[in-house]
Symmetry: C3
Subunit: 364 residues, 3 copies
Amino acid sequence: MTDLARHVDGVALIDQHVHGCWVEAGDRRRFENALNEANTEPLTGSGFDSQLGFAVRAHCGPVLGLPKHVDLEAYWERRSQFDERELARLFLPGAGVSDWLVDTGTPGVADVADVAALSGGRAHEIVRLEQVAEEAARAPGDYAAAFGEILHRRAASAAGTKSILAYRGGFEGDLSEPSPREVAEAARRWRDCGGVRLEDRVLLRFGLHQALGLGKPLQFHVGFGDRDCDLLKANPLLLLDFVRQSAGTPIVLLHCYPYEREAGYLAQAFNNVYVDGGLSVNHLGARAPAFLARLLEMAPFGKVLYSSDGFGPAELHFLGAALWRKGIRHAVGEFVASGDWSEGDAMRVVDLIARGNAARLYQV
Amino acid sequence: MTDLARHVDGVALIDQHVHGCWVEAGDRRRFENALNEANTEPLTGSGFDSQLGFAVRAHCGPVLGLPKHVDLEAYWERRSQFDERELARLFLPGAGVSDWLVDTGTPGVADVADVAALSGGRAHEIVRLEQVAEEAARAPGDYAAAFGEILHRRAASAAGTKSILAYRGGFEGDLSEPSPREVAEAARRWRDCGGVRLEDRVLLRFGLHQALGLGKPLQFHVGFGDRDCDLLKANPLLLLDFVRQSAGTPIVLLHCYPYEREAGYLAQAFNNVYVDGGLSVNHLGARAPAFLARLLEMAPFGKVLYSSDGFGPAELHFLGAALWRKGIRHAVGEFVASGDWSEGDAMRVVDLIARGNAARLYQV
Amino acid sequence: MTDLARHVDGVALIDQHVHGCWVEAGDRRRFENALNEANTEPLTGSGFDSQLGFAVRAHCGPVLGLPKHVDLEAYWERRSQFDERELARLFLPGAGVSDWLVDTGTPGVADVADVAALSGGRAHEIVRLEQVAEEAARAPGDYAAAFGEILHRRAASAAGTKSILAYRGGFEGDLSEPSPREVAEAARRWRDCGGVRLEDRVLLRFGLHQALGLGKPLQFHVGFGDRDCDLLKANPLLLLDFVRQSAGTPIVLLHCYPYEREAGYLAQAFNNVYVDGGLSVNHLGARAPAFLARLLEMAPFGKVLYSSDGFGPAELHFLGAALWRKGIRHAVGEFVASGDWSEGDAMRVVDLIARGNAARLYQV
């Protein structure tokens, strides 16, 4: 084992975008469906028959005391001997993460305090803008004022904000700041319709610009996700005009598959754009090294971040880290072997991506 | 040689999308032009100066008793000593294919019975929808009724249907089912203009929805093809709304270059979407392993299929199989070597792609 | 070292798209900003923290007598001991380039004669169309006549023309030839506004069709560049209709990142389309081999060209060649090792890309 490999294995990560893990019991169908991100219906095949499924068997099995590549029946049987909190206490600390930045926009899973307790690390909140909007819709009085009040209150102790605009019509079209009058009218219409599931473009744009005004890093779901998202409209290049208006507030492009090269270009083009391949890394399994190498094309090394985007099975919080360590070791190991990077450079870049960039960006 | 390599070499394939090979004599110009898919004019350079040309010399030469990498003069001279049926009797059995699914939409080549006889395997028809439309335009009486009658008659003994919508305006725009009245009007207009080469969007959409109603797998030409196709409009993500309307009828995305990652995403997102990299594999030659690896990113392993898309030179029916075996051995071999897959997993996935998925899907 | 490696190292290149290097002194900020192509603002991080920055330290350091991977302070200190002309006299000859095709559209750097003198090679002009337009706007009398006169005069001794349409609205929309009346009206409007920075689509289209009429190769900036360019609108597939109208005038697609596979497809589809990965190769550094391999997918080998797109630091003129030699050796070396290409094929393709294709195309 080389010094570089030892270094990669030892570095403590900041997981800069993650959700809670399950804390309540569920059946095998729930587990297998959680291994498929894109499909929103019950799977007709096995969720294990994918790069992610194979990666769970290869890398998570041993954490449960099983041999690598154990078959899925044995994996499920062994997993069923633990409750979800016990699984979290095995998998979360195993990730080697010091700080978790938890997007609290998805209910029914561990909250920020739970993630800290189950992992033995620190946890910080990422506030989801569309959730703030839905709270503001239910609040009395002026919508814009309510949104601003909730956002500032929640963000005071949070590390940043997050938008799922990709799931609410995508990035295409005007993303400029709407006028107060437009906001008021749109809010009235939305409240009249019940104020659930924000899809109104005016209010979505309003939320984004409120987040820009806050100055804390603003994360965007980009590319790969479930099929409610039109992947064509989740191309980060469609954010160009918005980024031009962003006046220095850090913008973090999450996941990015299959647009990781476009995202890297934006990270080179704008001082305030950052990229991260979380979620994709888990789903790519054995192909994660190829993806991570592509992510290291145009993006300056001070602009690349780590996350798992784990959600649901505690395996995913661990696996993101395990696959990232494996993949980055392979990718930068090749750059060293080919003589293009020194081993010292490689270690420094590993540290930047693992935690240095995120520590600076989120001040954690 | 590893057990895995032996396994890949031995598995009998189902070539799930192929055309007939030549059965009549032609000159060298015809041969060289057939090595370039995209250009529709006479080539100004040599058709051999490409990945496909090099692959023919490397892999097909030995089938004709020539050394690997023989120069193109010698290759052409040796090839000219055989007639096209003799070449077919050498190359088709050499592919190790048990079943050929033959798209009969292109005339002037071997028909389904010929492919079976020349290869010693079984052959099944894939009915091209645009050809059915053109038959219906020539039939007397109501167009929609004629289309339905021809489609059901031909499909009764066929394995599936195929659309070349990519060549008839692409996937952009509305692909919903048109009303009977719209169909009747569009058919009248088209028949008035002679009823050749279907480009009318209403009738193209009608054909697709008739095929959905049939329930048999519906294949789409996706991405790479000749330059009549606007590659921007052949992005499979543009099929999103159509797939949402497909109600479970299997949809097979063919070729997919350079959109193989987008296609793999759709295969993960929808239980009824399948992907296949045929045609691309032949044209990528030495780069086929990299392409096949990308095809194994997001697509579940139960959703990936094999085809050659061979058309014209019998070399292509053989080469598709040779390059696929070489490429998949390399791709899954790397997954095993890196510890992400077991060798048993790799063999099982090879079997699924080689034939298991197609056998289940087409019931052959 | 293999015969192939020796061959790649020894071949004299034609750098078919390059700009002048600096000839006047500048500070460290200028140098670091020149290592980032996409950003148009002062960098907040170090320009060295990128694949290009690492490649400069690895490959350019030794030219200045420094060890590989020297740290950036030491690199800058050593570089500062030379003036820009001295640096050019070290780096340009080191590239092993016999002929430089110099786009003279960017002021403030070495001109064509300077590049020849500093490198010891030959240099030829590439005339930038948008610059011709700006000269014509300042000329007296009819705009179209002035444009034609300037273009023919300058092009008489030039190797070809170049368009930066990608930076002037991109490739989307109508690119047909405008009528004389439209041109006259657009020219009048533009001259009334001062005639600076051509962005008028009519006049841009006029210039392109004048260049087609000239018959000399027409180069297009494609894809990756600075953020003034909307990367979505710099997809070469948007040039499809224009290429269909090009009547055989050679069209050269430059840079192409991240659209190198789309560009390769166009090179297969049209006898008169050529591709080149210059600029991208420098910025990809350790990832250049992967990019060059993708460029060798669909493009026939007679259609691929070499360039550095060096501009500013003389390092870039050298580094383009060094990374191309390293990358192509790796890419074609793999094709030979896998048995898909013979070593003789590989050498012949190297010669075509290094100089044979450009010599034929530009008659240099």
